[in-house]
């Protein structure tokens, strides 16, 4: 890397400055010079760099420097917050409410569409969907064969027709999916240049024939300054619904992500981290920000540590679940762990088979239910949590009052708990090894 760590660099820039108080214009300008370099070095488009740093300047000048921070850290914090906000917003999954839901993969040659289509199919299948891959790249030698191999690797059928135009193939695929109960169609299209009028028109035609819920623009994380032109053209013609960043396992800083986000304003939905078919991950704006700024991928490291801990907890939990001494305290811990993993509906998406069962159900109800349960367990003594059997009528009353629920609610909790425990014991034999993550929430999915 030509430029050293931005944080360090800013630290040096500011080392002579000891004054606290408000950030002066000079402070900010000094810092922004380094920020500008870091962003350019990361391949953020120079025009985007300009507008972005201008925005930061406006926000930063005159801002109070927090007690615990140096001016340099304060500027970094502002830059970091602005960047994360720009790239993030609400977590955006895929719109799969139709049956079948149609997804189109589009982008330049060599961006990674085919592999990513396979990965997406794999993830959807894991979530209990029935995806169909559709081979619409009739141009590149052996492209159809490639998709077929990828499809067989993830166990997803690949639809293809010989000697047909992509639009006809797509239409036929839709019909086929309807007849055969597929609920998601993933269309792999040929890579093409955004200035290739004929081929861009072909995409527009596929779009009008299929009315896809998602048009995903696949972008290589190594792309340079031209990313803005390319993404903008694809978006102008197709009104894309989101972006997937590929080849993120390399050492490219990935400034294209910021450029694309700024220019087309569409969410980055996934990031892809390898050639293996299980390497498609949700996009994390905060991590991407650290990466673009060259601040080291702190978030990822932290998360990895966290994951290792959680994994250990999960194993311990599993061991407990399958024995008799699973108690309400364990259950409480289990719920806390679940909460760390994100909103309930998203979490359930990740559980194989769960998605279908819960489709159409109002999950905010379940979320409220969880809060209630939490409150009740909170109102119990340690002894009660460990030995729920001792909870008699007067204890129930106390717990209900303490947690603001009715006595019936406490009864229901205790009943569900003992049922779950019974169920878990039966599950015991199945729940060893890899399957352990699948049965983490006994209270749901009945």
């Amino acid at each position: 890397m030509i430029f050293e760590n931005l944080a360090e660099k800013l630290q040096n820039t500011f080392s002579g400055l000891k004054n606290r108080g408000k950030l002066s214009e000079k402070d900010v300008e000094l810092a922004l010079k380094e920020v500008r370099l870091a962003l350019l070095e990361a391949d953020v488009n120079y025009k985007v760099v300009k507008t972005f740093t201008e925005r930061v300047r406006t926000r930063a000048v005159g801002e109070e420097v927090l007690k615990s921070l140096t001016p340099a850290q304060q500027v970094i914090k502002i830059v970091y917050d602005e960047l994360t906000a720009l790239m993030g917003g609400a977590v955006s999954g895929l719109n799969l409410s139709h049956s079948p839901s149609n997804i189109m993969m589009v982008g330049l040659q060599g961006a990674g569409k085919t592999t990513t289509a396979g990965k997406l199919a794999r993830n959807l299948k894991e979530n209990g969907r029935r995806p169909l891959l559709v081979a619409c790249d009739i141009y590149r030698p052996a492209a159809i064969k490639q998709l077929q191999v990828v499809g067989s690797q993830v166990g997803v059928e690949v639809f293809s027709v010989a000697d047909q135009k992509p639009v006809s193939i797509a239409k036929a695929a839709l019909k086929y999916a309807n007849q055969n109960g597929y609920d998601v169609i993933i269309i792999d299209t040929a890579g093409r240049l955004h200035i290739d009028e004929d081929l861009m028109q072909e995409l527009v035609d596929i779009k009008s024939a299929l009315n896809p819920q998602e048009i995903l623009f696949i972008a290589d994380a190594m792309t340079g300054q031209d990313a803005v032109n390319v993404a903008d053209s694809f978006n102008q013609r197709l009104d894309i619904s989101g972006v997937i960043l590929t080849k993120m396992d390399g050492d490219a800083r990935g400034g294209a992500a910021l450029s694309i986000r700024e220019v087309v304003g569409k969410p980055i939905k996934y990031a892809s981290f390898g050639e293996k078919l299980d390497s498609l991950e949700a996009f994390h704006p905060d991590r991407m920000t650290s990466r673009i700024l060259g601040m080291g991928d702190l978030g990822t490291i932290l998360e990895k540590a966290q994951k290792a801990i959680d994994e250990k907890d999960a194993q311990q939990m599993m061991d407990k679940l399958t024995t008799d001494d699973f108690n309400l305290e364990d259950f409480y811990n289990q719920m806390q762990q679940m909460k760390k993993m994100g909103p309930l509906n998203q979490l359930l998406e990740m559980v194989p088979g769960m998605n279908k069962q819960l489709k159409g159900q109002d999950l905010s109800g379940a979320e409220d239910e969880m809060k209630k349960i939490e409150a009740m367990i909170n109102s119990m003594t340690n002894k009660e949590r460990r030995q729920p059997d001792i909870i008699d009528a007067s204890r129930k009353k106390r717990i209900a009052v303490g947690s603001g629920v009715k006595v019936q609610d406490v009864n229901k909790l205790l009943k569900q708990f003992s049922e779950t425990k019974k169920m878990m014991r039966q599950f015991g034999g199945l729940a060893t090894g890899k399957g352990k993550r699948k049965i983490r929430m006994p209270f749901f999915g009945k």
Partner: protein
């Protein structure tokens, strides 16, 4: 579209963009700090990178001062001249005295390695050479089939093993076959890989070593294929591939798009790696020998 039309159209697209910008910036302007800043933006916008851009523009600035240049348009000449000095003279690939001429092709995923090999094979066949292709990408789905189609198109022979087999074994067989069948050229395809994956880079080293062992002095050329859309990461790609596989030339592909491919200027400057060929389309004829003069003329249009 004919060969020359295609070539021309490929290059004009590259040219138009930069030309428009340069003209609008420089036309009728007097030299000013602002003008140099705008020049910097144009070069950075072409992916030449901050460091190289600042150095190049600094040289231009210095020269303008020494040569007492006032007119903005004169600056273009000097900038062009500086770029020319940087890129150096044209140095086409030369076959070795003995056959087979072994060329190994490497690069990150999806840059256009296999397509470039197809185009190169066609070019050599046209020159009357007997060409053999080795399907050294045993990893990516249907990679060998893809190369097989290019072998058919270019009337080259193909050596391939089953998917998942050892690429070094493919290279070994291919060198043997090229020797016994008296091929003039053997081009070895390899799986795309990110330069950051040391195990995969080791694998590439091994392929190279096996070729060298079976035919001392081979591979005679190792070409790094790079996509013109590549940003600053291209420098890191070139550095690592050069270190591990002794790359001696670059093929810059996809110049038929709107990307400028300016990273090759930084690569030449930092690593002294020259571009040998450019790709200007997906067709079999869409390959051109790189000519630094033309490249720069094309960038600035004249």
């Amino acid at each position: 579209m004919g060969f020359f039309d295609r070539l021309f159209s490929g290059l004009t697209k590259t040219r138009d963009n930069l030309v428009k910008q340069i003209k609008s910036v420089l036309k009728g302007k007097k030299i000013s700090e602002e003008l140099f800043e705008e020049l910097e933006e144009i070069l950075i916008g072409a992916d030449i990178g901050v460091k190289s851009t600042l150095e190049i523009v600094e040289n231009v600035r210095e020269r303008c001062k020494n040569e007492k240049i006032q007119d903005g348009e004169e600056v273009e000449k000097i900038l062009k001249d500086e770029l020319k000095k940087l890129l150096g003279e044209n140095s086409a690939l030369k076959p070795p005295e003995t056959t087979p001429w072994v060329i190994m092709v490497v690069g990150v995923n999806g840059v256009g390695k296999t397509t470039t090999i197809g185009k190169l094979a066609a070019k050599f066949t046209k020159e009357g050479k007997k060409v053999m292709l080795a399907a050294g990408d045993t990893f990516r789905a249907a990679a060998a089939e893809q190369l097989g189609i290019w072998a058919e198109r270019s009337k080259a022979q193909l050596i391939r093993h089953a998917e998942g087999s050892d690429p070094a074994a493919v290279a070994f067989d291919a060198v043997q076959a090229a020797k016994t069948r008296k091929s003039d050229v053997l081009i070895v395809d390899t799986a795309g890989r990110l330069h950051t994956k040391s195990n995969l880079m080791d694998e590439l080293k091994k392929v190279r070593r096996v070729i060298d062992r079976e035919m001392p002095g081979a591979p005679h050329d190792v070409l790094l294929v790079m996509d013109a859309t590549t940003g600053q990461n291209g420098l890191s790609q070139a550095k690592v591939f050069k270190e591990t596989t002794e790359v001696n030339g670059i093929v810059l592909t996809k110049l038929d798009g709107t990307s400028k491919g300016g990273i090759i200027v930084a690569i030449k400057k930092e690593l002294d790696l020259p571009v040998k060929y450019i790709g200007v389309g997906e067709g079999i004829d869409d390959l051109q020998e790189f000519n630094p003069d033309e490249f720069i003329e094309a960038l600035f249009g004249n």
